[in-house]
């Protein structure tokens, strides 16, 4: 059986991750005794899906979603460190990985800040956010198609918060890029992907605030295009298990805009959050023409109508180019989602979501109607959330 050997091979990194996570939590316990600034937490995500989505990360049926164990705290007066180990079931298998392990400066002068290790890139609005804080069960098609859902990678970051009366931050990151494009067509470079990000934002008055982000990814890793041969189907399936981006190219431009409204600024009672994200990828590789591009956009609106109740809708659109057997085809997928969430406290949430995928071209098995029920539980300390 080729499968047995495959499975054993697949288990190895998982075992390594589990051992690392175990050692980390053990060290963490000892560490916390002498370093009171350290905080530990865990998040559990259990989701039931009636029908798996095309380009989705959730299996049909009951599934353990993005659940993590985390530790964060100071390393002396100058550094902060964070480690995050994730488990999730994917296609019936339990996957474990170290999602984050980084150190960051705390006291660089002039609004500068540096980070090194494995962490989520700050491109776009959602990428930096932990998935358990999302408003919907699945990330938008834009993230699922272009960033592997949640792009975290090994690299460096340097940010500068400009001393302006409004918020202005410019930042650059350099990553190995291996977790964005997993298999390359040519020789791999050491720093495969670099990003440049500008974020700005302010309050209009007590009730209204906004944020705008511009991101650019330069990716030197050209994705290997797999040949669709009959016999290779099974092996390829095992292969695609990874979490790299399904669609990639040399340059990615992203724009994100968020607007939030809460009457009198008291967002506990009531709040409306509207977010728009747009992404375009060009330079798709040697199999495409220079005019070919991938595009995606997501528009979401969420209304907290009572302190613990939220309702939201999202409209997603994905337009891509695909190359097989020397031909270039256009692929497309539209998705609409409606959700209702009950959050009795910020450590617990129950969400019901209805998603429908339409107008699919070149995407197999679109879900015309998929119901998802998600329960997220948080234990212990968890990091503060961003805007």
């Amino acid at each position: 059986m080729p499968f047995a050997h495959q499975a054993a091979w697949n288990r190895m990194p998982a075992t390594r991750a589990a051992v690392t996570a175990g050692l980390l939590s053990l060290c963490g316990g000892v560490f916390a005794q002498s370093n009171p600034g350290w905080q530990f937490g865990a998040v559990l995500d259990i989701t039931h899906t009636s029908q798996a989505l095309a380009q989705g990360s959730r299996d049909k049926g009951l599934q353990l979603g993005h659940s993590d164990l985390s530790a964060a705290g100071p390393l002396g007066a100058w550094f902060k460190a964070q480690v995050n180990a994730v488990v999730a079931t994917h296609e019936g298998k339990l996957e474990k990985e170290i999602e984050e392990a980084w150190i960051q400066t705390k006291r660089l002068p002039g609004g500068l800040q540096a980070r090194a290790g494995r962490f989520a890139s700050q491109v776009g609005y959602l990428n930096q956010q932990h998935p358990h804080a999302d408003d919907f069960v699945e990330r938008p098609l834009l993230y699922r198609g272009f960033l592997g859902g949640h792009w975290n990678d090994d690299g460096l970051r340097l940010n500068w918060t400009v001393p302006t009366p409004f918020y202005l931050m410019v930042g650059a990151e350099a990553f190995r890029g291996k977790r964005l494009v997993e298999e390359v067509a040519g020789p791999a470079r050491r720093m495969g992907a670099t990003t440049f990000v500008v974020k700005t934002g302010a309050d209009l008055n007590r009730s209204h605030s906004w944020q705008l982000g511009l991101s650019h990814i330069r990716n030197a890793r050209e994705a290997l295009i797999e040949e669709h041969e009959e016999g290779a189907e099974e092996a390829e399936h095992e292969h695609e298990h990874g979490h790299g981006a399904a669609f990639s190219g040399r340059r990615t431009e992203m724009v994100d805009f968020t607007w939030k409204w809460a009457p009198g600024g008291n967002n506990r009672d009531q709040q409306v959050r509207v977010g728009v994200e747009f992404a375009r990828i060009t330079g798709l590789g040697s199999a495409f023409t220079s005019a070919d591009k991938h595009q995606a956009r997501a528009l979401s609106a969420v209304w907290r109508f009572r302190p613990e109740w939220e309702v939201g809708a999202r409209w997603d659109r994905l337009r891509v180019r695909m190359a097989h057997d020397g031909d270039i085809h256009g692929g497309q997928l539209n998705e609409r989602a409606l959700m209702l969430a009950w959050k009795p406290s910020h450590m617990q949430s129950l969400r019901l979501q209805l998603t429908s995928q339409r107008d699919a071209v070149e995407f197999e098995n679109p879900a015309r109607r998929s119901w998802q029920l998600q329960y997220v539980l948080a234990f212990g300390a968890h990091g503060a959330h961003a805007f």
Partner: protein, 312 residues
């Protein structure tokens, strides 16, 4: 025409550079304080009236539920000193602001809770999803005790002297003057509030815990089933059954809390056979964002007066 256009471009570039320059330089330097809550902004103004003060929250907001908005990051970026409550009140948003602002001076926060003894500490309490917002350190709403507020003002004075050594004499003078005036008011409030001692009260959350503690009032019911969780019909029903026999003198909420659960409870209690009318009281949990000494006094005075009006 081309030379005109060139001239225009040059002018535009100059204007841009000037604008950017002025943005970067900011207005003439003033000692800048970022206060997480308005009460600490007011104390800062008492001690250093010339300070530029940014206030992150206002009386109409629940201080547990603030978002790390871009505007707050920009304010923290410019701060020379950060003054907050501590005891995990700001743990959901201040760390993000510190991280995003990249301001090393925003790391050594003056936490009021480090300078007073907190009530209701729960050592060893860890957050579980069902326990609500548990503050293991104790109740963080310490500014509602005017004696503790005075302790904080003294500690804040010491910290401000460390930050502004040239102003030592002036800060000490203002600190002493404030303390003398506050002590006089304190004696007056305590004398007037004597009839409140031992009276029973219901309230939402532990927001006013220190006020009850100071005035000798007894909180016999919390509208929240668990700290930080909104009142539920089931919980309110249970409270009603328990309180019918001996209704509290009043039900107290903060302006940022939904008044409906309190309204329902007072309505039900008042319609009981006994006929005792139980008033609903919305008390301001803090001062306005522009407050200084005068308003701090007026606010505390108002709390005592309003309680005396309804609790008879």
């Amino acid at each position: 025409m081309p030379s005109d256009r060139g001239h225009g471009l040059r002018r535009a570039a100059l204007a841009c550079a000037a604008l950017l320059g002025s943005c970067l330089a900011g207005p003439t330097w003033a000692f800048t304080v970022f206060a997480c809550e308005p009460e600490w902004a007011a104390l800062t103004r008492v001690l250093v009236p010339s300070a530029r003060v940014h206030v992150a929250t206002h009386a109409g907001q629940d201080p547990h539920h603030i978002e790390a908005r871009p505007a707050l990051i920009a304010q923290l970026r410019s701060a020379d000193l950060v003054v907050c409550t501590g005891a995990s009140l700001e743990s959901g948003w201040l760390p993000t602001l510190q991280e995003r602002s990249g301001n090393p001076r925003a790391r050594d926060v003056f936490f009021a809770a480090d300078h007073v003894e907190l009530i209701d500490p729960q050592p060893g309490a860890i957050g579980t999803p069902w326990a609500g917002d548990v503050h293991a350190e104790g109740n963080p709403h310490l500014h509602l005790d005017p004696r503790r507020l005075l302790q904080v003002s003294r500690a804040l004075g010491d910290r401000l002297i460390k930050e502004l050594p040239a102003e030592r004499a002036a800060i000490e003078l203002r600190s002493r003057a404030f303390e003398a005036a506050w002590r006089q008011h304190l004696a007056d409030w305590e004398r007037r509030a004597a009839p409140l001692r031992g009276r029973r009260i219901a309230a939402q959350h532990t927001t006013f815990g220190y006020l009850w503690h100071w005035l000798g009032l007894q909180q016999v019911a919390d509208l929240e089933p668990r700290p930080g969780m909104s009142p539920t019909p089931g919980h309110l029903q249970r409270l009603l059954e328990g309180l019918r026999a001996a209704p509290p003198a009043a039900v107290v909420v903060a302006p940022y809390q939904d008044p409906r659960p309190g309204r329902w409870l007072t309505g039900q209690l008042s319609s009981g056979a006994g006929g005792a009318r139980v008033p609903l009281l919305a008390l301001p949990a803090t001062v306005s964002e522009s407050a200084a000494e005068k308003e701090l006094v007026q606010w505390m005075d108002g709390l005592v007066r309003e309680l005396l009006q309804v609790v008879r």
